[in-house]
């Protein structure tokens, strides 16, 4: 197995894929952390802002709307990641693995 891993490790497409995956993962994680810590810090430092009604005729406050927004954003970003990873990333990944195992002689037997 080490030889196959080694061969994949020398494939530039593998490193390009790993970089693309990690760029997407860290970008989305950054957005999520900013949203959540923004919310937490707003509760600690700017409760007055969260307490404001959304508009002059509203009972719903900025805080309630922000809370809903943070949850909705998380679900949406999770969807974005799966959509990218289960399509383009997995296709490239299958190519890289097929290439490395073909050179090794015969298809790879996962069992």
């Amino acid at each position: 197995m080490h030889q196959v891993y080694d061969r994949i490790d020398r494939d530039p497409r593998f490193h390009a894929l790993a970089r693309a995956r990690s760029r997407l993962g860290w970008t989305l994680s950054g957005l999520v952390l900013v949203a959540y810590y923004g919310f937490v810090l707003a509760i600690a430092f700017a409760p007055g802002w969260l307490a404001r009604p959304l508009g002059p005729d509203n009972t719903v406050t900025v805080g309630i709307a922000t809370g809903l927004g943070v949850i909705a954003l998380s679900v949406a970003l999770t969807g974005v990641y799966v959509w990218r990873a289960n399509r383009s990333f997995d296709r490239t990944n299958a190519d890289i693995v097929a290439n490395a195992t073909r050179v090794a002689g015969g298809p790879y037997d996962a069992g």
């Binding site: 080490h2 490790d9 995956r21 999520v32 952390l33 959540y36």
Partner: protein
């Protein structure tokens, strides 16, 4: 296990349920017949599933991971069942009922764990893991010290979480069904033992899946009924809540909770990183065939759990409107019957009468049972796979031996749950939930994250940092405001913050990094060199544990 033994266990289960029925009808004068009928239906169905599942559990792989053959959608539902404890429905509704907006904070912040789990952990966890989270770290680290640390922390996590669930369950069930508290403990403990010891992960998965469907449909129905009263205008609901609540418009605004910045950040660290690395939830990633299905599971789980948290925005304020001023839900002093945690249950009765009350009561029961089953199988796997097979027997035990230990461990944990549930009766145990989340953010998250992302991490670094972090977390909790001041009655806490996670996670992570960098042993060099192979496997899934072949 032997079929006659299982058949006997099933008979006892049904007998106990019928006994519960007889006793409950005697005590409550048949008041809650719907609840009891639906509770019995759930018990019968779950025992039937266990009987079916028992025939499918032939190896340790079946027992721990259902043979890796659960689909992403099913697993997403089961994870929802694992994650949403009774605290999520009744606790949050109760908090909103009393404090308004501050209760909602507990709906929003824990959810952040889901996207983080997806972006940083899910793929790599599935590609590296087998049965437990210790397997992931053991890919390139020394087996014995790593598993001792993770299994010990895991058992502390499970026991802390278990006490909270068992005590909550006993109180809830005795007030819902009119059962004696101790009797409720024994029934739950017994059901868990039957599900886990006989049906393993297969039965646990289906119990969690059914519970998730029940919970989501019950909560959806209450939300629909509440919104229908206001012509589906949330604005109307919130106006009525402001009119009804003693704090008036403050019910829509942040109150005193998390007003201290350090405490707020520390609580956020605990819920986000601790929530992202809970062993009983991560263990579910190994029940699907590959990383693609693991990602699908997380996406479905995030959708269902996010949807559920959105419903709490309506259910909590709905209780303020429809329960707070209704004399049938209040005692002579005008206080809500059964405490604020009953707000969601009373709201169900207000919206749908006896039938919906019965349904939601059965849902609450199923919720607790499913969470406790998930915790029990996580604890049993730590004992049998990490401690027994890998440490005690150095990986040389046979599959049949490990199976036997797993089943006995499940039985032991079920009995331990009953004993602890009874021992902690009438204690205020809400603070105990801080312990498992703190352990998770201090030990599991940094260890998993660094092992998968940082080449230079070594066994010595993990062991020193992990134990130090664990010890510091426990000490800070004990000398903190909740235990030292409120429970032990000292004048002032030695450690000023309620949530130590920020500090304990910093201690464990920094120590792991520093000790690893200083570690120049031959073993450390081999572990660093093994990172490349581990990295390729974690990215490509090549060499990952696949679905079991039968």
């Amino acid at each position: 296990m032997k079929k006659p033994l299982l058949a006997a266990a099933l008979l006892i289960g049904m007998g106990a349920s019928l006994g519960a029925l007889a006793q409950a009808t005697g005590v409550t004068d048949g008041m809650n017949m719907n609840a009891i009928a639906m509770f019995l239906a759930f018990v019968m169905v779950s025992l039937w599933i266990t009987y079916w599942a028992a025939g499918r559990v032939k190896s340790t792989s079946d027992f721990y991971t259902a043979g890796g053959q659960i689909s992403g959608f099913q697993n997403g539902l089961a994870i929802t069942g694992d994650w949403c404890s009774s605290a999520a429905l009744m606790g949050i509704a109760g908090l909103i009922y009393t404090t308004g907006f501050d209760g909602l904070i507990y709906s929003v912040i824990p959810f952040g764990a889901w996207p983080l789990m997806m972006f940083l952990l899910a793929d790599r966890l599935r590609n590296l893991g087998k049965f437990t989270i210790a397997d992931i770290v053991s890919v390139r680290m020394a087996r014995v010290p790593i598993r001792s640390l993770i299994a010990s922390a895991g058992l502390a996590f499970v026991v802390g979480y278990l006490i909270v669930q068992m005590v909550g369950a006993g109180t809830l069930i005795s007030s819902l069904f009119g059962l004696k508290y101790e009797y409720a403990q024994v029934i739950i403990g017994f059901l868990i033992i039957v599900y886990v010891a006989f049906g393993g992960m297969v039965a646990t998965t289906y119990v969690q899946l059914i519970k998730a469907v029940l919970l989501l449909s019950g909560a959806s129905f209450i939300t629909f009924a509440v919104l229908a009263k206001f012509g589906f205008s949330p604005e109307g609901l919130y106006e009525a809540a402001v009119t009804n609540h003693p704090t008036a418009e403050k019910v829509m605004q942040p109150g005193g909770l998390l007003s201290d910045p350090i405490n707020a950040i520390s609580c956020g660290v605990m819920l986000l990183f601790g929530g992202a690395a809970m062993p009983h939830v991560l263990m579910r990633f190994f029940t699907v065939p590959d990383a693609k299905e693991a990602r699908r599971s997380v996406a479905w789980a995030a959708t269902f759990i996010g949807y559920f948290y959105l419903l709490t925005f309506v259910i909590g304020y709905g209780a303020v409107v429809f329960v707070m001023k209704d004399p049938q839900f209040l005692d002579a002093a005008g206080v809500i019957k059964g405490g604020a945690n009953m707000a969601a249950i009373h709201l169900a009765e207000a919206m749908g009468g006896d039938l919906l009350l019965g349904f939601i009561s059965a849902v609450a029961f199923a919720t607790i049972v499913a969470v406790v089953a998930g915790l029990t199988i996580a604890g049993a796997s730590a004992i049998s796979h990490d401690l027994y097979a890998n440490i005690l027997r150095h990986g040389r035990a046979s599959d049949a031996e490990v199976m036997k230990v797993s089943r006995f461990a499940s039985i032991g944990l079920g009995i331990l749950g009953i004993i602890l549930g009874i021992a902690f009766k009438e204690e205020n145990i809400a603070y105990l939930i801080v312990l498992p989340f703190t352990i998770s953010s201090t030990v599991f998250f940094p260890v998993l994250f660094l092992a998968m992302y940082w080449r230079r991490l070594t066994t010595t670094g993990i062991v020193v940092g992990g134990w130090l972090g664990l010890a510091s977390a426990v000490v800070m909790l004990v000398v903190g405001p909740t235990i030292w001041k409120d429970i032990l009655g000292h004048a002032a806490p030695i450690f000023p913050y309620k949530y130590p996670a920020l500090f304990s996670m910093a201690i464990s992570s920094v120590t792991m990094i520093v000790v690893s960098l200083l570690d120049n042993s031959a073993r450390a060099r081999a572990e660093v060199a093994a990172f490349d192979d581990q990295f390729v496997r974690s990215q490509t899934g090549l060499g990952a544990e696949g679905a079991a072949r039968h």
